[in-house]
């Protein structure tokens, strides 16, 4: 039967648009970024294809940040209630940081104002603890990297480009840190915090990576760029 024949129609890491057929037949399964329409697997988004065993998915090239449990994010404290902080993390969903997850000691609410820990306008690096079905996101500071970020500058990039800024096993970000002598923290939500002497060089480099993230030989280009500006 011809209809049963399964075939992959695309190459690995090929640019596809929404609605483009990725594979035919029932032997393959759609993963993130793709869906099944009758006998075909089609792309949902503009992105690069990813084939893993029987799963065919698409990695987005643009889009907003959707929180995942365990992600490290940089957020801005937006609001404060008696026992929680509300954190904006560059996503359609605001996050909640409960007092218990933020402070490791006993707090007597009658005597203390919780703004001594985090105040409106503060920038924090926190971990996503839990996401409820109704998209209530909870953050935690119970992580060795979680802290308040003081000073420095903030940069926002497309969240789907974050893996390119970090590089393979952190190679790209280590390169920038070493060459610019800056402290850099990259949140999975596309917010980047930079502090150090050569802040502007570091931010220029990161914006260059974002712009040219789909071009090959990027690491070499960045190395050259950093050496030239030294």
């Amino acid at each position: 039967m011809d209809e049963r024949k399964s075939e992959v129609l695309i190459k690995e890491r090929q640019l596809v648009i929404p609605g483009e057929t990725l594979a035919t037949g029932l032997d393959f399964l759609p993963s993130s970024g793709s869906f099944r329409a009758n006998n075909e697997i089609k792309s949902k988004i503009l992105g690069l294809t990813k084939i893993k065993d029987r799963f065919i998915g698409v990695i987005p090239l643009s889009g907003v940040y959707v929180p995942k449990v365990g992600d490290g994010v940089i957020g801005f404290v937006e609001d404060m209630q008696t026992t929680i902080w509300i954190v904006d993390m560059n996503s359609p969903y605001d996050a909640i940081l409960p007092l218990g997850e933020a402070v490791g000691e006993y707090v007597d609410l009658n005597k203390t104002d919780i703004s001594v820990y985090y105040d409106i306008g503060d920038v924090i690096y926190a971990k996503v603890l839990n996401i409820s079905k109704s998209k209530r996101v909870q953050l935690t500071m119970n992580d060795h990297r979680a802290r308040k970020l003081i000073g420095g500058r903030i940069l926002k990039i497309t969240p789907s480009k974050v893996p390119r800024v970090i590089g393979k096993a952190g190679s790209m970000i280590e390169l920038i840190k070493e060459k610019t002598k800056c402290q850099i923290i990259v949140g999975q939500n596309g917010v980047i915090w930079i502090k150090g002497e050569k802040e502007s060089l570091a931010s220029k480099t990161i914006l260059m990576i974002e712009k040219e993230s789909h071009i090959s030989g990027l690491t070499d280009k960045i190395t050259k760029f950093l050496e030239k500006s030294d």
Binding site: G63, V64, P92, Y93, S134, K135, G167, K168, I215, L218
Partner: protein
């Protein structure tokens, strides 16, 4: 006959602007023109110029239109005051509200709303210059902008207009044809599939004419779809794709 109406709009098998019956005006389109928007696109049919920007998915304001199960789509169609010979009063009009609604309904057919519950996707369509088929150009631009914004969709939406001028069926109405033609019909399909998501018409036609017009419109939409596909791939063409990262 009204003032300014040409005696014949089809002479020796050619239309007023020298096109054949099944020919588009020059089409140009571009993706990602606006830096601050999440996704953006322009789409031109000759002198019709549509600009679209997409913001979102983002938090819903006002809160009461929020849906806990799915995202909400908000479309706004507007013509610039300078888009036609006679100034258009800025702000919403009966016509703008109607077109916003039909664009919203057409786009709702392809977006996966369940992926972003409790959010809103804002689509803005601005007509900077109008010369007939503005809703088609606007819809084409909007679907490109949505794809550019990374909104999950089943397919793109392609749209074009067909009409009857001097008793002949023509593709892509323009200028005087729109003003003095007999019938004007806007059609939108899901990509190059055989599914219609928008169909609006004024004028009087026969059943046979309608069937012929739909056939022509589907062919036109398939042509538009190819151009949309190209434009989206063009944006990320610079250099081949790398296999490092993650």
């Amino acid at each position: 006959m009204k003032v300014g109406q040409p005696e014949k709009m089809i002479i020796d098998g050619k239309r007023l602007d020298g096109r054949s019956m099944t020919e588009f005006r020059p089409i140009s389109l571009e993706v990602g023109n606006l830096k601050r928007a999440i996704g953006s696109a322009t789409f031109n049919f000759g002198d019709t110029y549509a600009l679209s920007a997409v913001y979102g998915p983002r938090t819903v304001h006002p809160r009461h239109i929020e849906d806990p199960q799915r995202a909400v789509l908000r479309c706004r169609y507007a013509m610039a005051p300078f888009s036609t010979k006679e100034r258009i009063r800025p702000g919403t009009s009966r016509r703008a509200v109607e077109i916003s609604k039909v664009l919203n309904e057409a786009l709702s057919n392809v977006i996966f709303f369940e992926e972003y519950p409790k959010t809103v996707i804002d689509v803005f369509v601005e007509i900077l210059q109008a010369d007939a088929s503005t809703r088609c150009a606007g819809l084409n631009a909007a679907s490109l902008a949505l794809a550019d914004a990374g909104v999950p969709m089943k397919n793109l939406i392609s749209s074009c207009s067909v009409g009857v001028v001097d008793g002949e069926i023509v593709l892509d109405m323009a200028g005087l044809e729109d003003n003095y033609g007999d019938v004007d019909m806007a059609v939108a399909t899901i990509g190059n599939e055989d599914k219609i998501v928008l169909l609006q018409m004024d004028g009087i036609i026969t059943k046979e004419q309608l069937i012929k017009m739909l056939e022509l419109a589907k062919k036109g939409c398939a042509e538009i779809f190819e151009k949309q596909k190209q434009a989206l791939k063009e944006k990320y063409k610079t250099g081949e794709i790398d296999d490092e990262s993650e």
